[in-house]
């Protein structure tokens, strides 16, 4: 009974803190703009099965991709087991879902095996992150804090797996005659060591469940938030071709007015600003991308500008957006403001103008983030609000305006190529 009460209190605190984090994020989302309507559910489901559950983009890096996929699939199975542990904690029972028979055996067995695999992989990941020279683990946006966050997340997962195995070992030791579920790895360990882990069952259980609770509440503030957001991020992703850059409707209205002065002007749709200068100009999708981003750096790794030493790093754009939202969003919620902005105080013009819109970043992103469209949204602000494009581009604009071509040629000469 004490265990049940204690567990219930801890669970309520966990849920309370989590709900508080969710409400804070919801308030931030309310500051953003609409993106696109969520239609074509069947295509979204297909993409989610493919990219999220099938890990198709993760596999573009086969070795580390395979390791990630196993950790992810294992996580899915182990989460099912965690539901039972929460139920057991509330009711004070032990293995209360065992009535499910063969299904239960399969889930428990794969959870036990995956816990072991994940533990091994996490140790390898920690070694890799600590001692190996991986180019995408570097960059101005990868601060000591980012590394600490990454390491902490790995240790969290490592200890989650260790405690689960300890709990299984303890459970088997205590129930040697009537084990519910199948535990291939734990059983083997007991067989080999012939040790009695019975005393560790309870502490294994508590450590595991408390780690889940703490980790879940740590995640909304971590780059590892992708544990929650990557699947919805894939499901809600932009289904249009990568190089389709949406037209600005507010401009369409203005252009129509210019071409047809008779057209009625709809004052209800007044726009405050063209393009993106700060967090209140981004869409919910941009912000969601920034929260879901694991900062793996696959985008930056393939960016032609970054490869050739320019300052642009697609990953940094979204890291900056998340930081800026934390900063300015918090101020706005308090009814305050500052004089900074996402452009210039976080993202320099030099970065914005270095993008070739090649979409290698978006192609690579395992959770379907679209970097170039946000970068071009910032160009829209620079060009249409500040008229501060690089000189070459201003000349190109003038040429298109005057001669209908980006170069300085007369439209009368348009057929010279055939002569």
């Amino acid at each position: 009974m004490i265990k049940q009460t204690l567990f219930t209190v801890v669970l309520l605190i966990t849920l309370g803190v989590f709900v508080w984090s969710v409400f804070r994020l919801r308030a931030f989302f309310k500051l953003t703009k609409p993106a696109y309507p969520i239609k074509n559910i069947s295509a979204r489901i297909t993409r989610t099965l493919n990219v999220a559950f099938g890990q198709s983009k993760i596999f573009r890096k086969p070795v580390i991709g395979f390791m990630h996929a196993l950790v992810f699939w294992g996580f899915l199975v182990i989460t099912l087991g965690s539901i039972e542990m929460v139920f057991d904690g509330l009711v004070g029972s032990d293995r209360s879902f065992a009535f499910m028979g063969i299904f239960y055996d399969v889930i428990m067995a794969s959870g036990d095996v995956f816990a072991f695999i994940i533990l091994v992989f996490i140790i390898l990941f920690i070694i890799r992150r600590s001692f190996m020279n991986i180019s995408r683990f570097k960059g101005v946006e990868v601060t000591p804090k980012t590394n600490l966050d990454a390491q902490l997340s790995l240790y969290f997962i490592g200890f989650l797996m260790l405690s689960l195995l300890v709990f299984n070992l303890g459970y088997i030791s205590n129930h040697s005659n009537e084990v519910l579920g199948v535990y291939p790895v734990s059983s083997k360990i007991i067989q080999w060591t012939s040790m009695d882990f019975g005393a560790l069952q309870e502490s294994g259980w508590w450590v595991h469940i408390l780690l889940i609770f703490v980790f879940a509440n740590y995640l909304p503030y971590s780059k590892h938030f992708h544990v929650f957001l990557s699947i919805p991020n894939v499901f809600l992703s932009n289904l249009e071709p990568l190089t389709k850059y949406p037209n600005l409707e507010s401009i369409t209205r203005e252009v129509k007015l210019m071409l047809d002065p008779e057209a009625a002007y709809d004052e209800s749709e007044e726009v405050t600003r063209f393009g993106v200068k700060d967090i209140e100009d981004v869409t919910w999708r941009n912000y969601m991308d920034s929260l879901a981003c694991t900062q793996c750096g696959r985008c930056t790794d393939v960016c032609p500008a970054n490869i050739t030493g320019k300052r642009l790093s697609p990953r940094k754009i979204f890291v900056d957006l998340r930081h800026r939202m934390n900063e300015k969003g918090t101020l706005i919620l308090k009814g305050e403001d500052d004089t900074k902005s996402l452009i210039r105080d976080y993202i320099s013009e030099e970065e914005i103008w270095a993008c070739t819109s090649c979409n290698a970043c978006a192609q690579e992103c395992p959770i379907e983030i679209s970097h170039p469209n946000l970068i071009m949204d910032m160009r829209r602000y620079l060009v249409m609000e500040e008229a501060s494009a690089p000189a070459g581009l201003n000349a190109m604009f003038a040429n298109i305006e005057n001669n209908g071509a980006p170069w300085q040629y007369s439209p009368e000469d348009r057929m010279k190529w055939a002569e």
Partner: protein
């Protein structure tokens, strides 16, 4: 046959004045009209269209920039002005099918014009040529090319942007027999450095130009030719090859030129 003589190209305004319709509109693009090197690509493609005896036309002096570069550079106002004017002309002629050689024009017409009222079947010339080859309408002479090696550079707006990877490769294979793939190819292809309006501005400070990085990918394959399917990629790789003093060893050809050469047009 003198290859440098004027090619007869039907102009849409003339066709319409005769009360006739066309099946295809060939969208030449600004590079096809004005870029000295890429004009040859437009000529090659027009010759193929004439060879196929298709009912097609070009807009000629009525054609204007699609606005792609302006849009990518953030000038949405200018883009939409261009788009609406072009759409007015295209709709005025009741155009149904548009063939583009430039993948930037192709992407803009196909993906960004519909929301502004421009609904056409937009076809990339690599898909069109691949289709014509498959139908047996183009009798390609492989002999002069069979012993030459070639690689293909994927334009971003064709490949990643619109998932056209196979059509250009099929064409190259139909003439050269084989395509040597660069390390970074298809959806992993490296950009030439000119997209997103980079063509019209100085590159930001860095250690290297993107087009040099990509040219090195090409040269690593030790090929005689490199095929491209985009006017910007053409400029960038041709410059890169010159920069590396390899212009006598490696030739940069467009897919349309590969076909017209194999047809001896």
């Amino acid at each position: 046959m003198n290859k440098d003589t004027k090619i007869d190209i039907p102009i849409m305004a003339d066709v319409a004045a005769k009360g006739e319709q066309v099946e295809y509109l060939y969208w030449v693009g600004c590079a096809g009209a004005f870029d000295l090197r890429y004009q040859k690509v437009a000529r090659s493609f027009a010759k193929i269209l004439n060879h196929l005896e298709l009912r097609y036309a070009v807009l000629g002096t009525e054609e204007s920039c699609t606005g792609d570069a302006a849009k990518r550079a953030g000038n949405e106002m200018l883009f939409q002005m261009q788009a609406m004017q072009n759409i007015e002309i295209l709709n005025g002629y009741n155009i149904k099918k548009i063939i583009c050689t430039c993948p930037h024009c192709y992407n803009t017409l196909k993906n960004e014009y519909p929301d502004l009222g421009g609904h056409y079947e937009v076809i990339n010339y690599t898909e069109f040529l691949d289709d014509q080859i498959k139908k047996g309408n183009l009798n390609l002479d492989k002999n002069p090319f069979e012993n030459l090696s070639i690689t293909y550079h994927d334009p971003c707006y064709l490949g990643r942007g619109n998932k056209i990877y196979d059509a250009p490769r099929n064409i190259v294979k139909a003439v050269y027999g084989e395509v040597k793939e660069m390390k970074r190819s298809k959806s992993s292809a490296l950009c030439c450095g000119a997209g997103g309006a980079q063509m019209f501005k100085e590159a930001e400070k860095g250690d290297k130009e993107v087009f040099i990085e990509r040219t090195e990918d090409v040269l690593e394959q030790k090929v005689d030719k490199v095929a491209t399917a985009c006017p910007f990629c053409m400029t960038m790789l041709t410059d890169g090859i010159k920069f590396k003093n390899k212009e006598t060893e490696v030739e940069n050809l467009d897919i349309a030129e590969i076909v017209s050469q194999a047809l001896d047009l």
